[in-house]
Amino acid sequence: MNLTLKIWRQTDAVDKGKIHTYAISGISQDMSFLEMLDVLNEQLNEQGEEPVAFDSDCREGICGMCSLMINGEPHGPEVTTTCQLHMRSFNDGDTITIEPWRSGAFPVVKDLVVDRSAFDRIIQSGGYISANTGSAPEANSVPVPRDNAVRAFNVATCIGCGACVAACPNGSASLFLGAKITHLGELPQGQPERWSRVVDMTAQHDHEGFGGCTNIGECAAACPKEIPLDVISQLNKDLRTAMRHGH
């Protein structure tokens, strides 16, 4: 396959950055998207141009490190992560535009790499159950109804990639936030801190500069883990309830 790549290049956080165009050939359908970029980087290195910086680590769709806005869609056209996207989703002769996640809360570090530490701070603000090591009761002493356990698991599969933010026209991180609120709120262990958690985490979310949700739904469509919009409903409900509880 021969492709034209339009890639955002930006030397550092202060640089203004712009799109560069590269031609690349000899790409096989079996390559993953990131392997295609590896090939480009080999080529650039050979030509004496600095390789394009992009994030990835596990390359099996679970760590959440990879990102990339590919032709206007986070993680590209399939419901998966960029590292699991393969070139057979593209055609010979295609032009592919590759940009970093765009969010004020995710400043660009270099080229396609952004800083997602805002997500860590949202978790710090309350995304946990306070259980000091060694203080836990016997695991089976609190049964968890299977439906709750299943729902908690389903939303706990969020990989913190930030595609939801990248997709959202409001730059909101409500899907990520709602996934954590729902995960912990669904479990008996998560009840004691439930109301303070939702308030603290939402306040941190706003403080980081993420926008407010207007329920457009692009986040859920972009999410590689198919976290459903329910979690935002749950988030809203929990916040409303927290208000009633005087938080």
């Binding site: 290195n45 390789p51 680590d57 596990c58 390359r59 760590c63 090591t133």
Partner: protein, 676 residues
């Protein structure tokens, strides 16, 4: 391979070392040092040792803890759990990882599950049985006190994780579910669908983030540790590079913990993450920490095969697929390029069923892997040519689909088969899947005593980065157990005994050890950027991986290993003279990061080959062609090799020094494993 004594292959190097056994394959490549022993495990009944040690380990007054600082490199299960727990205890913790968030450590990729001797199924499980299974699974090459302790604390892990909100699979009654795993006869594996590692890591990560909020843990993400500072005989800090600004930072503390994961990426292609590296451990090794059993590598039989030279990483498919799939290759090499559906039944070789009639497709990991390699070496591999070779065997669900129906198979393996299709573009319900073994885990690592302290005072090592619990082979679902055991329940107790002597005298940035470490790091970086040769880092890494896989992979021979050592030495020379790294030191520079890692992998690769060369026996994941039974089974030599090989860095131009730790079993009897 031959079973004959091989005398023609001895090295042409000088033989002034004492000969430890009948053969000294590695003679000339190493120096024999003093034996080494673990001095921390208390004597007495194995079941009491941990209680005794916990009691004897000195305490640190809560008011003093704030004054004691701990550096933890790594935020996987081992590092994340330790940071959370030590933070809760009130110590002043600094946590480092190279990813942009602690939550992305490679523990996140573990699929299958985590073992614990809860005996919820009332099927006869117990601490002792888990201990026994783990030692046996490790082919009697692990230290029994450590393994017993692991089994002992395993149950606490599950309690802790449940309290943190880890959504384990549950039964309809709301209680925890278990499955059996990795060929043991009890059901003791706790799991969260196929994402157990992710859920456990998120639990540890959240606990750690809570401490960040409380101010006991400070996290340094996108920071790569490049050197350990050893001042006056004690580990007192690290040199790290801020990967965004390029700044070289000095971090000082009273104690340093390495939880930096495994080094499977020395093979270039593995199931590890792109950034998994040996740098943290290797830098410590060069400063005096011994590296134990570096050649013990686990190669997993069911991974998606390499599809071309561009391949950057391999993906694991759960072992459970072997329960229903049948493994075969064509009988005739000329059929290998054909559509498998056109190959008639009589021309197929179900080689595992043929060679191991009783175990069939369910032979242990190492056997299944080695036989797949043998088939491909014979020229009967399938799938696309990669280089001059087809690397793959079929895993066929046709019979299972006929027997159970497509729906049943879909329900059982759905997401795995989908993942396969996404990666290969082939529909496994119609075309047999192709699988091939891949490097998955390393049992070797930095040597530690019962306290998890390395041979550098004040340098503790946990998780996959140490060598202690899995011997020569790791059982499924026990790495997660070890990581969390070390992090939550072991290290926090043992480290206090060391810290009870602290705070240690302040050292400043002008301490000679600090100055030297910084200068080393800066010098190396400058060197990488100034070689200005022709070859990219990746090309060296790929070549190293090739050598390692070919000669230090599933089957090792003295001849091959010697050849590999020569090739690696040549590669090292070329690396340092023909490397091309563009960009600058003071910005995000991924080629520069990789250069540092590959430089260390090259040195590690050589040591792995020497270790493999020295160990002229087959045990667990280490298979020496020269040491097998008549029917090709691994053959241990307990009389000669029942020891841990702890290697000391012998200097840039010297040979590594071998220290042997004798393995003594008091609670268990050494037996030859048998699969017949």
């Amino acid at each position: 391979m031959t079973d004959m004594p091989d005398t023609t292959l001895t090295s042409d190097r000088s033989h002034d070392e004492p000969s430890p056994g009948q053969y000294d394959d590695a003679a000339g490549y190493y120096t024999l040092g003093e034996p080494i022993a673990d001095t921390k495990a208390p004597a007495g009944d194995i079941a009491d040792r941990w209680q005794t040690r916990k009691f004897e380990a000195r305490l640190v007054n809560p008011a003093n803890r704030r004054k004691l600082s701990i550096i933890i490199v790594g935020t996987g299960l081992a590092g994340g759990a330790a940071a959370a727990t030590l933070g809760e205890a009130g110590y002043n913790v600094k946590s480092f990882c190279y990813q942009d968030s602690p939550r992305r450590a490679h523990s996140i990729a573990a699929q299958g599950g985590i073992n614990a001797a809860k005996n919820y199924k009332e099927d006869g499980d117990s601490t002792h049985r888990l201990f026994y299974d783990t030692v046996k699974g490790g082919d009697y090459r692990s230290r029994e006190s450590n393994v017993y302790r692991l089994a002992e604390v395993s149950t606490n892990i599950i309690d802790q994780c449940v309290a943190q909100g880890v959504p384990f699979a549950r039964e309809y009654g709301g209680l925890l579910d278990n499955r059996s795993f990795g060929g043991v006869q009890v059901s003791r594996t706790f799991y969260a669908r196929g994402q157990t590692g992710q859920q456990l890591l998120i639990g540890a990560y959240q606990a750690m983030e809570r401490q960040v909020k409380l101010g006991t843990v400070t996290e340094y993400t996108r920071h790569e540790m490049l050197e350990v500072i050893v001042a006056d005989g004690q580990a007192r800090g690290i040199i790290a590079r801020d990967m965004v600004t390029g700044e070289i930072e000095t971090h000082l503390a009273d104690v340093v913990v390495l939880a930096s994961g495994g080094y499977g990426n020395v093979f270039y292609l593995s199931t590890n993450a792109m950034g998994s590296n040996v740098t943290a451990a290797w830098r410590a090794h060069r400063k005096g920490a011994y590296m134990a059993n570096p050649c013990y590598t686990q190669i997993h039989p069911t991974c998606i095969p390499v599809s071309g030279d561009h391949q950057s990483k391999l993906t694991l498919m759960s072992e459970s697929l072997r329960n229903d799939g049948r493994i075969w290759v064509p009988k005739k090499a000329e059929d290998c390029g054909k559509d498998p559906r056109d190959i008639p039944e009589e021309d197929r070789d179900y080689y595992l069923e043929r060679i191991y009639p009783s175990f069939g497709n369910l032979v242990p990991r190492d056997i299944a892997s080695r036989q797949a390699k043998n088939m491909c070496d014979e020229g009967r591999g399938v799938g696309p040519m990669v280089g001059d070779f087809r690397r793959g065997v079929y895993l066929d669900f046709k019979d299972a689909i006929a027997r159970l129906g497509k729906d049943a198979i879909e329900e059982k393996y759905d997401n795995l088969l989908d993942m396969y299709e996404r990666i290969t573009g082939e529909n496994p319900y119609e075309v047999p899947m192709r699988i091939y073994p891949a490097v998955h885990y390393v049992m070797g690592g930095l040597w530690v005593d019962y306290d998890l302290q390395s041979t550098i005072k004040g340098l503790f090592v946990t998780g996959e980065a140490n060598f202690s619990d899995h011997g020569a082979n790791r059982l499924g679902a026990s790495a997660l157990m070890q990581g969390l055991a070390d992090g939550y329940f072991v290290l926090p107790h043992t480290i206090r005994d060391y810290l009870a002597d602290g705070p240690f005298p302040e050292i400043g940035e002008d301490h000679p050890a600090v100055v030297e470490a910084r200068a080393d790091v800066e010098g190396r970086i400058e060197k990488f950027l100034s070689i200005n040769g022709n070859r990219s880092v990746d090309s060296f890494h790929r070549e190293l991986g090739h050598i390692m896989w070919e000669y230090c992979g599933m089957e090792r021979t003295a001849e091959g290993l010697r050849k590999a050592i020569d090739m690696i030495r040549e590669l090292k020379r070329e690396f340092w003279s023909d490397l091309k790294v563009l960009g600058t030191a003071d910005s995000l520079n991924q080629s520069l990061e990789k250069a540092g890692r590959v430089a260390d992998f090259i040195e590690l690769g050589e040591l792995m080959c020497i270790d493999a060369l020295n160990r002229r026996e087959s045990c667990g994941g280490h298979f020496r062609g020269e040491s097998q039974t008549e029917d090709g089974e691994a053959l241990r030599h307990d009389d000669e090799f029942a020891y841990v090989a702890a290697w000391e860095w012998g200097g840039q131009d010297g040979t590594p020094i071998l220290h042997k730790e004798e393995l003594v079993y008091t609670a268990i009897e050494m037996k030859q494993r048998s699969y017949k």
